[in-house]
């Protein structure tokens, strides 16, 4: 690693960014070709900031990408990064002329569009106002002013007249929310889009809606819901309908990984491997299909090593990066749990061999899993055994019955007590009680507690 790269990644490390030292298995050019729109820059910049082997290439591509657009802030960001990482590259110096030109052009365009919109408003033609707002929103989005873009887009809503227009508004707003990573907003925007009413229009929209829903669920760490969304994406619609958000291979990876983390074997078999639509997606990511098949066939260690081989790739994905440690940990503990199912007793040595992890001893891992309730087992640290705990339905029934009876008794008493207190007018009221006719209690007066006070 050169000194400048080292300096760059020290900065990233200080900002708590993810750093991936291994080279990923994908080719950067091919990878970025599957996308269009603003996500290209975001993805390139993320790879540039995370991957050591691809850093310079990705940042250079990001600079070029930014220059193709009209967003000066993005250009500055990319060049700043490149200046630290590779100062000798020609792209690492600011193109001041381009910056100034773009900024002036942007300002003029903003002024023009705002003036136009004003004119439309004066004329009170709904359709023109809607289009004016849309143009303004698109302009703001392209120059990177996402706040203003969201505002302009949402102003379109009062003037829409056809369901196609409603869908457009929704898509614009979702796109902005996605860039601002407002996962909750995505769901609410999506819920306002008409679904299924107009079947033709809805059909080509289906993958987009499913993918965006999945991403929003993923962002909120609701993995199962996210997996279900990705698995439901319709494969027959061309990817140009959604490639400003994700590529078909992304769909396969997101759906497969998250399903692996959340579903049981039967579910995986049925909803992933045997699903006609999703199988076609899996062709874009054969290793995911392999991992799922290995899991379903009970070859857990193989499944884990397949996934580990692709960890670097997934850590460079804009949406997965943040969740990979958690998703992988979930898959791993699921593997261990599944592995244990047929046995009543497993030796720690066997487990260690099957799931060796240089970072952590298997006992520590089991300890954490049992503590969190993922695994129902007990460790025998002396004889190095792990025994599974069988639930005894009889004991469960008995303790539940006793607990129910006791809580019934407790509640009955509590309710009687409360009724009596109410009847004796002894509820604590918000203001100071006045009926303190009670006096002359020796001892109690000595205590320095206040009377009931207002809070």
């Amino acid at each position: 690693m050169t000194d400048s790269l080292l300096a760059f990644f020290t900065v990233i490390d200080n900002q708590c960014g993810v750093i991936v030292k291994e080279a990923p298995k994908f080719d950067l050019d091919l990878y970025i070709q599957s996308y269009r729109g603003r996500t290209r820059f975001d993805r390139l910049l993320l790879i540039g900031r995370s991957s050591v082997p691809l850093c310079v290439d990705a940042l250079k591509a990001a600079v070029a990408e930014a220059k193709r657009g009209r967003d000066p802030q993005r250009y500055r960001e990319a060049v700043e990064c490149l200046r630290i990482a590779a100062p000798s590259e020609p792209e690492a110096s600011f193109d001041k002329a381009w910056l100034e030109n773009t900024e002036t052009a942007n300002q003029n365009e903003t002024r023009r569009l705002t003036a136009e919109l004003k004119g439309y408003k004066n004329n009170l033609i709904k359709e023109s106002i809607r289009m004016g707002n849309e143009d303004l929103g698109k302009h703001y989005e392209s120059i990177g002013d996402l706040n203003a873009a969201a505002e302009a887009y949402s102003k379109m809503r009062p003037d829409v007249s056809t369901s196609k227009q409603i869908i457009d508004v929704g898509r614009h707003l979702v796109s902005v929310a996605l860039q601002r990573r407002e996962w909750g907003m995505i769901t609410s925007h999506l819920s306002k889009m008409p679904t299924g009413a107009n079947s033709d229009e809805y059909e080509h929209l289906q993958p987009y809606i499913k993918i965006v829903t999945g991403l929003s669920m993923l962002g909120q760490e609701r993995f199962l819901e996210a997996a279900m969304s990705f698995l439901a994406v319709d494969v027959n619609i061309s990817s140009t309908n959604y490639n400003e958000v994700a590529s078909p291979s992304d769909v396969a990876v997101y759906g497969g990984l998250l399903a692996l983390a959340t579903m049981d074997r039967a579910g995986l078999q049925q909803k992933v491997l045997e699903a006609a639509d999703f199988r076609q997606f899996l062709e874009h990511a054969p290793h995911i299909r392999r991992a799922v098949a290995q899991f379903v066939n009970g070859r857990y260690s193989a499944c884990i090593s397949t996934l580990e081989a692709y960890r670097a790739d997934y850590l460079l994905d804009i949406h997965l990066q943040k969740h990979i440690p958690k998703v992988y940990a979930q898959i791993r503990s699921k593997c261990i749990v599944q592995y244990m199912i047929p046995f009543s007793c497993v030796s720690l040595g066997t487990l260690e061999a099957a799931f060796s992890n240089p970072a952590q001893s298997i006992e520590e891992e089991l300890f954490a899993m049992i503590r969190s309730g993922t695994l129902q087992a007990r460790i025998n640290a002396i004889d190095k055994l792990v025994t599974t705990v069988a639930t005894n339905p009889r004991v469960k029934l008995q303790s539940t019955a006793l607990a129910t009876a006791q809580s019934y008794e407790k509640q009955a008493i509590d309710r009687l007590r409360r009724m009596s207190l109410a009847a004796a007018d002894l509820e604590l009221k918000g203001q100071r009680k006045t009926n303190t006719s009670f006096s002359g209690l020796g001892g109690a007066g000595d205590i320095i507690y206040d009377e009931a006070t207002m809070v």
Partner: protein, 488 residues
């Protein structure tokens, strides 16, 4: 004096009083006669009241006896008390006829008050006497009277908790001054629920205010804490914490109780307790703001390392805990941190070496694992002997390190044991029958409740109500009743 003796001995008459009606008339007449006699002979009576005590049987002629005691205590010169008087009071309080006492609430309360003040008896005796007397008056112990609060305060402050236990272990469900139908039955009716005869009008109690009720439960909780009866302490404090409130009420006592409740919950269950659903909204808010250091302790208790707990404890300073009167309790929580850590290991391990346990668990006092294995072994052994830990320490013969085997509790009950447990719970619920009946009677004669009922029935007839809303109303009976009753 002979005349006086004959008056005093006239009740109960030698021929048995067959029904409540007769008994009531005779008792009321007797009380009046005795009063009149004492008033008429006021000057001379004080002189020979002491002698009269010898002729009157405290268990049989309780009305007369209490009149004599009252006269001596109020009009005589009981200080310094002579032994005969003390014996007389003791015998009386241990043996009186509770049916008769229902007619002489005033003198009875005065005698109890005199005993409690601690001039006549040392505190330990006073507590025991008052506790016994209260339970004789109301064997169910379900009614809170104005004597309860000073009693439990005295017991706690003088550390005489044992004798008061029979009283504070009872479940209180009745309070003086409950609104209800005018009582038509005679006080001497032995079937009466306690609130029917222990009333402010009978002078067996006075009216209470909110502070009194809260204080009683708080002191009960503190007594149980003193005895390390965590379960009972927790329940008592929970009664204060979830005290019914209206219009955003909350009191200092409740906040204070909440802090103790949280600490006791940690000791009892090893985790922060959750507030009962019935806790008032304003109270919950107030607990959250005023109990922050305690909540922080609770949160730190659940963590795997002891550092936070220690920091939370030290950051506010021991003076803070001492000012709240909780220093000893917080220290105990700190001690118990490691114990709970050890106890929780049983959810993960069946066998584990002591050395491993020592490194895995941390002491909140030393902020880290205990230094030596011997120290740790002593801790584990004490836990086993106290019954907190179900396991044995085994030392292999081949010189390998000692380890602990967690014994699996015999969770499964035999059919018989299970049935017995269920039966005892069912019996306890059945025992609530009289209380439910009394509450029901009171409610059934409440004007507002009847008005509400009539309205409901009318609506039903007109078929206006949606079956679901009606269902909701009946299910949510607690709120419904509270509204109705408090609306009186």
């Amino acid at each position: 004096m002979d005349h006086c003796a004959s008056v005093l001995l006239a009740f109960p008459p030698s021929s048995p009083l067959t029904n409540n009606d007769q008994y009531h008339r005779a008792a009321v007449a007797h009380v009046q006669r005795v009063d009149k006699m004492i008033k008429d002979n006021a000057a001379s009576f004080n002189g020979y009241a002491n002698q009269l005590l010898e002729h009157v049987d405290p268990a049989k002629n309780s009305i007369s006896y209490i009149a004599l005691l009252h006269t001596i205590l109020v009009h005589g010169n009981p200080t310094p008390p002579h032994d005969d008087l003390l014996v007389a009071i003791t015998t009386f309080l241990m043996t009186f006829d509770s049916r008769q006492i229902r007619y002489v609430g005033g003198p009875f309360s005065i005698v109890l008050g005199a005993v409690r003040e601690g001039v006549l008896f040392p505190a330990s005796v006073a507590v025991e006497l008052v506790a016994t007397a209260l339970l004789r008056l109301d064997p169910t112990g379900t009614m809170l009277t104005s004597h309860h609060i000073p009693l439990v305060t005295l017991a706690y402050e003088t550390d005489n908790i044992e004798p008061v236990l029979p009283v504070i272990e009872k479940t209180i469900v009745f309070y003086p001054g409950m609104k209800g139908p005018p009582e038509t039955r005679y006080p001497c009716d032995m079937q009466l629920p306690p609130p029917a005869y222990i009333t402010p009008e009978s002078f067996l109690t006075t009216r209470l205010n909110v502070t009194n009720v809260l204080q009683y439960d708080l002191f009960c909780g503190m007594c149980f804490i003193q005895r390390r009866a965590w379960r009972q302490a927790f329940d008592a404090l929970e009664r204060v914490v979830s005290y019914p409130t209206r219009e955003g009420g909350c009191s200092k006592i409740m906040e204070n109780a909440h802090n103790k409740w949280l600490l006791v919950g940690l000791l009892l269950n090893g985790k922060t307790p959750t507030l009962p659903a019935t806790t008032g909204q304003a109270a919950q808010k107030s607990y959250a703001t005023h109990g922050k250091p305690y909540a922080a302790i609770g949160e730190a208790f659940g963590q795997a390392t002891a550092e936070t707990l220690k920091t939370e404890f030290e950051s506010v300073g021991s003076q803070f805990w001492a000012d709240d009167g909780n220093l000893a309790l917080v220290r105990l929580v700190l001690t118990h941190y490691q114990r709970w850590q050890i106890k929780k290991l049983r959810d993960v391990y069946t066998k584990i070496s002591l050395e491993q346990m020592r490194t895995r668990t941390q002491s909140a006092e030393a902020t880290g694992p205990l230094k030596t294995e011997a120290e740790f072994e002593a801790l584990v052994e004490s836990m086993i002997s106290e019954g907190m830990l179900n396991g044995v320490i085994e030392r292999p013969a081949d010189g390998k390190p000692a380890y602990l085997t967690f014994l699996s509790p015999n969770e499964e009950l035999s059919e018989g044991e299970f049935a017995a447990k269920m039966l005892s719970t069912a019996q306890r619920i059945r025992d609530l029958g009289p209380v439910v009946k009394a509450t029901n009677e009171r409610l059934a004669t409440s004007k507002d409740y009847l008005r509400h009922l009539v309205k409901e029935q009318k609506k039903d007839k007109q078929g206006q109500t949606d079956p679901f809303t009606r269902f909701e109303q009946t299910v949510d009976d607690e709120d419904l009743m509270m509204d109705v009753v408090s609306g009186n």
